[in-house]
């Protein structure tokens, strides 16, 4: 039996307005090469000046990941040739990173597990190479340098992950934390969250790590899991047949569903790092660090626990709600306004998320506000609406933007709880179905359900099911 050992290197694009070392815009999707200047084009003589906000955001991320922020770090040049790296080096951090020695808790086999964070460092992004989509793409690559110089943090984990599922959970939680901090939009399609994995396998129980490969191009959560599963199987097969793993960089090809070794000499692994002479060492004062630490919002784990404590929610509901900051905000606003936290959690997690998904909207774009939803929930808890009717009313509120009371008035949807009214309906049905009445009286009690259905049908679902049951039993005697 072989056991996988996985460490992730995650790049997160910081959502500053301007680039890390120059004032060009970081906006995504602009026409190619329109947000560039001598600094990010790497023109001779141009000098970098550090963006303070990028450092603040990086520090937020580092503190949220329980890292120690170094009072002094420095930038270094990472030298390699690639056309989307115009200077011939990337300004990064090497032997003195911004922050180190953190951890992040994930869930593994139903238990909490601490995954070490080796380091968090600041660096600049490279430009974008377009290898496809042009008439001469067979022979040419196209380079857009708008992204060159966009601030990134690289978050390196310890090799603590033991399965593709753990890697997936780690990345999910990391992303949630970054979104809570509002330091990145973490949009994987647009490349603001990127993930590389170091993978090796070893005989179960072995003390030493096997030879690892670095798998790149994992630009979706699905790819991450598939690529890891593939790579673990590939390495296991090689070792089982007596072969040896070659240390190399491999690319995940989502079309072929395979990883491929990269032979390109462009990725020579000798980066000849040296201190960046154009930038001063980065000194973080205690007061700056304090200020950033104070600005941290409540983080997902703390929030999940508070939701359980404060609203008596089941852990699974709290976990789901806390997985997104706006979702948890929406829940808390609804719970406060309705005084019905459990109902609020149920309705948000099932009905509201369902209609939102159908409409392709985010929780922040919900046409039904927490206050409006709270009004609906109060009508349900007061028995004026059944759950079934509530769903229809919510659907209508979603479509029209009207409050629940207006929707109910318009479609005369109020629940019928008056036993006299219900009894009148039941008498009609009893009179029209003597055969079923006889069956029931002979002891076939299952027929009761059939009668309930008939009453609900006759009242278009508006009758209170409990009252219907009780009245039926009385009428059928």
């Amino acid at each position: 039996m072989y056991e996988p050992v996985i460490g992730l290197e995650v790049h997160v694009q910081l959502q500053t307005q301007s680039k890390i070392f120059c004032s060009c815009s970081t906006r995504f999707g602009d026409p190619p090469n329109t947000n560039v200047c001598p600094v990010c084009l790497g023109l001779p003589g141009a000098l970098p000046v550090l963006n303070r906000e990028a450092v603040t955001m990086a520090m937020k991320a580092a503190l949220a990941l329980n890292c120690a922020v170094n009072p002094r770090s420095r930038f270094a040049r990472k030298n390699y040739f690639y056309p989307d790296l115009p200077k011939g080096y990337q300004i990064s951090q090497y032997d003195e990173p911004l922050a180190e020695h953190g951890w992040l808790e994930i869930e593994a086999n139903g238990a909490r597990k601490r995954v070490g964070i080796t380091r968090v460092h600041l660096e600049e992004d490279a430009g974008k190479s377009l290898h496809e989509g042009f008439p001469d793409s067979e022979t040419k690559s196209y380079i857009d340098l708008n992204r060159s110089g966009v601030p990134l943090i690289e978050i390196v984990s310890e090799p603590d992950l033991r399965s593709p599922e753990e890697a997936y959970d780690y990345l999910t939680r990391l992303k949630t934390i970054m979104l809570y901090l509002e330091v990145s939009d973490c949009n994987m399609e647009e490349g603001s969250l990127r993930c590389d994995a170091n993978v090796s396998v070893r005989p179960s129980g072995a003390a030493n790590f096997g030879v690892k490969t670095e798998v790149k191009n994992l630009n979706s959560f699905k790819f991450l899991q598939k690529a890891l599963t593939y790579e673990i199987e590939r390495q296991t097969r090689i070792l089982e047949s007596g072969g040896a793993i070659q240390q190399e960089t491999r690319l995940w090809d989502s079309r072929e569903q395979k990883t491929f070794g990269m032979r390109s000499k462009e990725f020579a692994h000798d980066y000849r790092y040296f201190p960046e002479p154009d930038l001063l060492p980065l000194e973080i004062s205690a007061s700056w660090k304090e200020e950033v630490a104070r600005s941290l919002p409540e983080l997902p784990d703390a929030r999940r626990e508070r939701l359980v404590r404060e609203y008596q929610l089941p852990l699974t509901d709290a976990d789901q709600l806390a997985s997104s900051r706006p979702l948890a905000d929406f829940f808390e606003a609804t719970a406060r306004a309705s005084k019905e936290p459990k109902l609020a959690a149920n309705w948000i997690l099932s009905e509201l998320l369902y209609v939102l998904k159908e409409a392709g909207r985010e929780i922040t774009q919900s046409p039904v506000s927490p206050e409006r939803l709270a009004e609906l929930l109060r009508l349900i808890s007061e028995g004026k609406l059944s759950g079934r009717m509530g769903k229809d009313v919510l659907g209508e509120m979603f479509r029209t933007g009207k409050p629940a009371s207006a929707v109910m008035a318009e479609s005369q949807l109020e629940q019928i709880t008056d036993p006299e009214k219900i009894a009148a309906v039941i008498r009609e049905i009893v009179a029209a179905n003597p055969k079923q009445v006889e069956q029931y009286r002979k002891g076939k009690t299952a027929t009761l359900g059939w009668f309930v259905g008939q009453v609900m049908k006759a009242t278009r679902g508006q009758a209170n099911p409990q009252v219907v049951q009780e009245t039926l039993k009385k009428e059928l005697g």
């Binding site: 190619p32 990010c40 040739f81 060492p281």
Partner: protein, 100 residues
């Protein structure tokens, strides 16, 4: 001589230079003499000197920040004006990715 022909070939490869055998032999003593010249610095006792990454001033005396404000960069045509080849608003270069 501390340097070998292998070192010269390695450095040339990192720099994407193609050297002939004659050039390798020619550059070997030259590179070696440069290194020996710089090596002279090792004779200094730096035991009590703190390593520095920057020689002009310290961060504390000269905080060199930029506030996070975006400004327009170069105009549309300027960036590409020096490019040997361009198209679709992009720099064009020979295809780079190779695979097994």
């Amino acid at each position: 001589m501390a340097l070998t022909e292998k070192d010269v070939r390695y450095v040339a490869e990192l720099a994407h230079l193609e050297l002939s055998e004659t050039e390798v032999r020619k550059f070997l003593p030259q590179l070696d003499s440069i290194l020996q010249y710089v090596q002279k610095l090792n004779e200094l006792d730096t035991q009590r000197v703190e390593p520095m990454a920057q020689v002009t001033f310290t961060e504390a005396s000269h905080p060199a920040w930029r506030e996070d404000l975006a400004r327009p960069g170069l105009s549309r045509d300027e960036p590409l004006s020096n490019a040997p080849e361009s198209g679709g608003g992009c720099f064009k270069v020979p295809k780079v990715i190779e695979r097994e």
